[in-house]
């Protein structure tokens, strides 16, 4: 699924980070999420949403070819990941982060939970209304 980002609607509450972590890892933390909210204060005084657009640069950069395209998204083969961080450095959206426990990258599953929880509709799923996201 494709996402449309409305940075100007984001108020930096980070509910999206928690929803991502809970939905994908069953963990309650903002430290383990596949997206990133960048606060830019004191100036210019706004937030930038960083979200995976599945460009594939991480997979291309991986020296172990541990990131593969499967079912419409990039997936990490954990057993092949050497936690070198090359993919994180290669991410042009500056969204990829390491799992604090394993140091392996946290890849977006495209589940849409970030968009669903956002109380301000700052992350929109292209072509779908909120009702369709929940359905």
């Amino acid at each position: 699924m494709d996402f449309i980002l409305h940075h100007e609607r984001c108020s930096g509450c980070r509910a999206c980070l928690l929803a991502c972590s809970v939905a994908n890892f069953r963990e309650i933390t903002t430290a383990k999420a596949a997206l990133r909210i960048e606060p830019r204060f004191p100036a210019p005084g706004d937030y930038v949403i960083h979200l995976c657009d599945r460009c594939g640069d991480c997979a291309e950069a991986c020296p172990e070819e541990a990131i593969e395209w499967r079912d419409g998204r990039y997936v990490l083969r954990q057993e092949d990941c050497i936690a070198c961080g090359t993919c994180i450095d290669a991410c042009p959206n500056d969204v990829l982060r390491a799992d604090p426990k394993t140091d392996c990258p946290i890849l977006c599953t495209g589940c849409g939970e970030c968009a669903a929880i956002c109380p301000r509709d700052a992350i929109e799923i292209a072509g779908e209304t909120l009702e369709e996201v929940y359905a």
Partner: protein, 629 residues
């Protein structure tokens, strides 16, 4: 214990000793969290009778069981210590992201005792805790410091700072966080300054355990959806707390020119609409909050350009009302100056207004102040704030707060030092609002509105949500004198209700401003912790905490009691000169009736001290034994 992080972090700043204490189950059961933890730990660990700046004064930080969880507005952090402003019980809270991150690092609460030998930064990086030298950061403004620390440590760290006011032990110095969130009241920033801690940084990469994660996730989605359905979601959120400015003027409760009157002609130049039209860059929300109060923006004034979060209503009321600043840009500028200096905008506004009135009356001279000062003049207000934060010249007197400053100055200036117990009055003038007057008189920390807010009762006779009150306003008209009698019941109910959210570690505004139902909180609490908790049980705990905080002040403040609960003479003797409440005021006799009714309903003696019987009823037998009789 599910929901909680499970540990209290204890640091003796003198010796550097660090202890990680398992969170006592009994503490969690009897006091829940947040303000409840602050109150109980203070009762047990504050050595009786010490000076607030004694290194032994514990500086307590506490979250609640719901802080950091995925549910609406779960970002509150509470701070407490013996108050430099009042000498009694103090707590102050803030939103933002610090508390949730502290919990992800593994700690529900943190207790700092002692004082560092040299100015330092306390850095908590999950398990690793260390004090680093502050070096040349000592002296920096709060906003400047936070920016620099974010650059040095990275955006994953959440940061508390104090400004020059905290370093210089100004009795109304605040704690700042996230470029515009403050735990503003009761002078807690000065206690952190007395411990020579310039900033606290925390990074947390762990996760919390919930009793029923799947159930909580589903309930959280329902809760967010329910908040979005409230009329206030689209009606209240755009302007946030500033949206009440018009209504407060329409009902004649806006503190104007040091509370000389209760209505400002220029209120439409400093209201929420003015923020949206002239300042706002973005909405800035606290952790997991669907209804952000924070309006971050930019203002240009005669003194230059500033970036500022706010102004929120309280800053508008005290800087735009009590100091009479005429434009939203001037209010924003003064707000920014307070934020950078680390001054509470409420107390800062009241103290500056008191000084200006002293100048107008010839009590303080141009030589003493260093320049002419006037109501409505930004440069005058900024001059007073800067002197205060640095304790320069007359600032050394103003830094003591309005009560101490007036006691020292004399010449009748105590009559118009607008405070209770030594804490300056926040943004609601009450000469025709007996319930709200009683709220201010009996708030445990001094004259603060967040413990109970019954202005809706005073004006429309009910507990309508703030959004409904604002939506129902729109007219300035002469109001009849309010009838004194029957206020205590509503005030007490509000004193249990509003601080109940402070036990849970979440913000009350979805409930108070939008009317989001209590059933959601009962359900979410149970899913987080696995413990059933009815709203009634929560309110009973809140009553226990209320009696405990009062008891701390009875123990700590010599002569504490009825005499500590009176408003300043101006608010009893001087009829309001103009506006909707022209001619009204509450007499001393009416104020006494309010107090008698309140003490009786609380089960306190007529001196305002909780009786042994009441304390025992609330499970505070040990407290009853520890009070002077």
């Amino acid at each position: 214990m599910k929901g909680y992080a499970g540990t209290i972090l204890r640091i003796d700043l003198g010796s550097g000793r660090i202890e990680k204490q398992p969170l006592p189950e009994r503490l969690a059961e009897d006091y829940i969290g947040g303000r409840g933890f602050v109150a109980r730990l203070m009762w047990e660990e504050l050595p009786p009778g010490i000076d607030p700046f004694d290194p032994a004064n514990p500086f307590i930080t506490a979250t609640g069981p719901m802080s950091g969880h995925l549910l609406p507005a779960s970002g509150k952090t509470h701070f407490g210590c013996k108050s430099p402003a009042t000498g009694g019980y103090a707590d102050s809270n803030m939103g933002g992201h610090f508390g949730p991150t502290l919990k992800y690092a593994g700690y529900d609460a943190m207790v700092l005792t002692g004082a560092a030998a040299e100015p330092g930064l306390l850095v908590i990086d999950d398990d690793a805790v260390e004090i680093q030298p502050a070096g040349d950061l000592w002296g920096a403004g709060s906003l400047t410091l936070e920016k620099r620390l974010k650059e040095d440590f990275g955006e994953d760290f959440e940061i508390l700072t104090i400004g020059p006011a905290g370093e210089n032990l100004v009795r109304f110095a605040c704690i700042s966080h996230d470029f515009g969130r403050q735990a503003g009241r009761t002078g807690i920033g000065a206690v952190l300054g007395s411990k020579r801690i310039k900033a606290v940084l925390v990074r947390g990469t762990g996760s919390l355990e919930a009793h029923d994660l799947e159930g909580l996730f589903a309930a959280a989605k329902r809760a967010y959806a329910a908040v979005r359905e409230k009329p206030g979601f689209l009606g209240w959120t755009p302007e946030g707390t500033a949206g009440i400015t018009n209504w407060v003027n329409e009902v004649g409760a806006f503190p104007t020119r040091n509370f000389q009157t209760s209505f400002s002609d220029h209120y439409e130049a400093i209201n929420g609409k003015a923020i949206l039209e002239r300042l706002k860059v973005t909405d800035k929300g606290c952790f997991c909050c669907p209804t952000p109060c924070g309006k971050y923006g930019r203002a240009r004034t005669s003194l230059g350009q500033v970036e500022v979060e706010g102004p929120e209503f309280e800053s508008i009321a005290l800087l735009g009302g009590a100091c009479d600043l005429q434009t939203i840009e001037d209010v924003a500028h003064a707000n920014h100056v307070c934020d950078e200096l680390g001054l509470d905008t409420i107390s800062g506004g009241v103290v500056a207004a008191w000084a200006i009135e002293c100048y107008e009356r010839g009590i303080l001279s141009r030589e003493e102040i260093g320049r002419e000062v006037r109501f409505g003049d930004l440069a005058s207000v900024v001059h007073l704030l800067e002197m205060t934060a640095r304790r320069e010249g007359l600032g050394d007197l103003l830094a003591e707060g309005s009560k101490r400053a007036a006691e020292k100055t004399g010449q009748g200036s105590l009559d118009f030092a607008i405070q209770v117990k030594g804490l300056e009055w926040s943004g609601y003038e009450c000469r025709n609002a007996p319930g709200m007057m009683l709220s201010y008189m009996t708030a445990d920390v001094g004259a603060h509105h967040n413990r109970s807010w019954v202005l809706g009762h005073d004006v429309v006779g009910s507990a309508a949500s703030v959004h409904d009150l604002i939506a129902g306003g729109g007219e300035v008209k002469k109001l009849p004198k309010a009838v004194v009698g029957g206020q205590a019941k509503n005030v007490i109910a509000s004193q249990h209700l509003r601080p109940a959210f402070d036990l849970l570690g979440i913000c009350r505004l979805q409930f108070m401003e939008l009317g989001f139902e209590v059933e959601h909180y009962e359900e979410l609490f149970q899913l987080c912790t696995g413990r059933p908790l009815t709203w009634q049980e929560l309110l009973e705990t809140s009553e226990r905490v209320w009696n405990l905080t009062r008891s701390v002040s009875v123990r700590e403040v010599p002569g504490f009691g009825r005499a500590s609960d009176y408003p300043p003479a101006r608010l009893m003797n001087d009829p309001v000169p103009n506006g909707p409440n022209e001619g009204h005021c509450l007499s001393r006799e009416e104020v006494d009736r309010l107090l008698d009714e309140y003490y009786d309903a609380r089960g306190w003696d007529r001196q305002g001290r909780p009786t042994a019987e009441t304390l025992k009823r609330l499970g505070l037998e040990d407290v009853a034994g520890g009070l002077p009789r």
